[in-house]
């Protein structure tokens, strides 16, 4: 099945999703990876706001943002996979990256009604889907800073949703 969604993503949107669905996302999404996600988690734990950032109903794409484009990095890196609990708790609805995740993460996603989706490594093709980009937090991290992207029909494939995972054997 394919879905077309605009951010922010609602709980109802998530309930409609099943693994292997293609979802086309339009609107604003965040981009962050190894360096910045632990910093955001730290702020969430300290109950501090991040100026100009609203995680409720958000999508976080695990990617660097640079003149070379965007593309998924491995979401099973320690810094990224360990961020799922706090980010989902804070309202992130779609974690977007690549690679198999563990059973513990499947349970976390179910608990907070969030999903994990993957995107093929198609940076040249994705460049036409990125309409705007800007750094919103931790600029010192360069390409790994937290970016806000405006996307149009970004194609993603649901990999973990509602307790089901394409990686379960």
């Amino acid at each position: 099945m394919s879905l077309i969604l605009t951010t922010p993503i609602s709980d109802l949107d998530i309930k409609k999703m099943s693994v292997r669905d293609i979802v086309y996302i339009s609107g604003y999404i965040y981009a962050g990876r190894d360096s910045v996600l632990p910093k955001i988690v730290d702020l969430i734990k300290k109950k501090k706001d991040i100026k100009g950032v609203n995680l409720v109903g958000s999508v976080i794409f695990h990617t660097a943002v640079s003149s070379a484009g965007v593309g998924p990095t491995s979401s099973n890196k320690v810094e990224i996979e360990s961020s799922f609990f706090d980010l989902s708790r804070a309202g992130v609805k779609i974690h977007l990256g690549k690679g198999a995740l563990g059973d513990k993460t499947v349970k976390i996603l179910k608990k907070f009604n969030s999903v994990y989706a993957v995107v093929p490594p198609i940076s040249a093709l994705l460049s036409s889907k990125i309409l705007e980009k800007k750094i919103v937090a931790f600029p010192e991290e360069g390409m790994e800073a937290l970016h806000l992207l405006k996307v149009e029909k970004l194609p993603i494939i649901v990999a973990i949703a509602n307790g089901e995972s394409i990686y379960s054997s």
Partner: protein
């Protein structure tokens, strides 16, 4: 050689290296494109077909625009092949470095060189350099070749496959089947966690970890998608039975091919196996002659 001639020659080398880096980073070799198109034709599942088609479409755009196939443009590695009567010197090595910098600047490469002293670089505590061209070339490998001249092979090595790569000792008990079984066991979980499948498995088997890794890089350079030996075919077939599929979405297209390079072996019960599950974008390799 006159000074102006020397400068002209320098510029020629720099330009060739730059163009080779861009070619490696923005296009697939024809044998890979053909294999991908064949796999699209064979694939019956609509979603998996879409994934493979999008990989082909991505390459078309990158090749046309001479832009990166993947935002992780990788760490440049070079294998320099030297023919009889050919020589290289400090100046050539410097020109190779300049060509690499120019290529990264023009591609553009991802600005991912890490600032600071040893500890700061390891901890990534001082941030990154802003220019793509600040990324340093990995140590250059050198080999003899039969043909006269100098051949520069450029590989762009992405981070995802590096996470999944491994070098391991295997006690072979004088049976190739034990080596193959170990390769299959080591690869399965890593490929699943790689994400960017179908992958190409690059393998080097040698006497030391250094040698096995060098052979693995050579396998990435010399391997052909349309020319697979018996062992390569067996490894590909067995991994395709794992049902990991493109992006982990299941199906038979887990591995496109296996590139194996076997070097001299030690008189011993041990073999050193270097294994790199190259993502769908790799091997990013191109060569030029000087």
């Amino acid at each position: 050689m006159l000074k102006t001639e020397k400068n002209k020659n320098d510029n020629l080398v720099i330009e060739k290296i730059k163009n080779t880096l861009i070619k490696a980073s923005s296009s697939f070799r024809p044998d890979k494109i053909k294999l991908l198109k064949d796999r699209v034709k064979e694939e019956k599942n609509g979603l998996l077909k879409w994934v493979l088609e999008s990989i082909i479409e991505n390459e078309k755009i990158a090749k046309k625009n001479k832009t990166p196939l993947c935002d992780d443009t990788g760490i440049p590695h070079i294998l320099l092949e030297v023919g009889p009567n050919s020589k290289f010197d400090y100046r050539l090595l410097e020109n190779i470095e300049k060509g690499i910098s120019k290529g990264l600047e023009e591609l553009p490469g991802r600005p991912m060189a890490v600032r600071g002293n040893d500890i700061q670089r390891i901890e990534q505590s001082q941030g990154l350099y802003h220019k793509s061209s600040d990324l340093k070339l990995a140590p250059i490998g050198i080999k003899k070749m039969k043909k006269d001249g100098l051949k520069i092979n450029i590989l762009m090595q992405g981070g995802g496959p590096e996470i999944r790569a491994t070098t391991k000792r295997v006690f072979h008990q004088r049976k190739i089947s034990i080596i193959i079984d170990e390769i299959i066991t080591l690869s399965k979980d890593e490929i699943k966690r790689l994400g960017c499948t179908p992958c190409t498995l690059a393998i080097g088997i040698g006497r030391t970890h250094y040698e096995a890794n060098s052979l693995m890089l050579e396998a990435m350079i010399r391997g052909r998608f349309n020319k697979q030996n018996k062992i390569e075919k067996e490894i590909t077939k067995r991994l395709n039975e794992s049902n990991i599929g493109p992006l982990g979405l299941s199906g038979g297209n887990t591995v496109l091919a296996t590139f194996l390079c076997v070097g001299p072996q030690r008189a011993s019960g041990v073999r050193i196996v270097s294994l790199r599950p190259c993502c769908i974008i790799e091997p990013r390799v191109a060569s030029c002659f000087l």
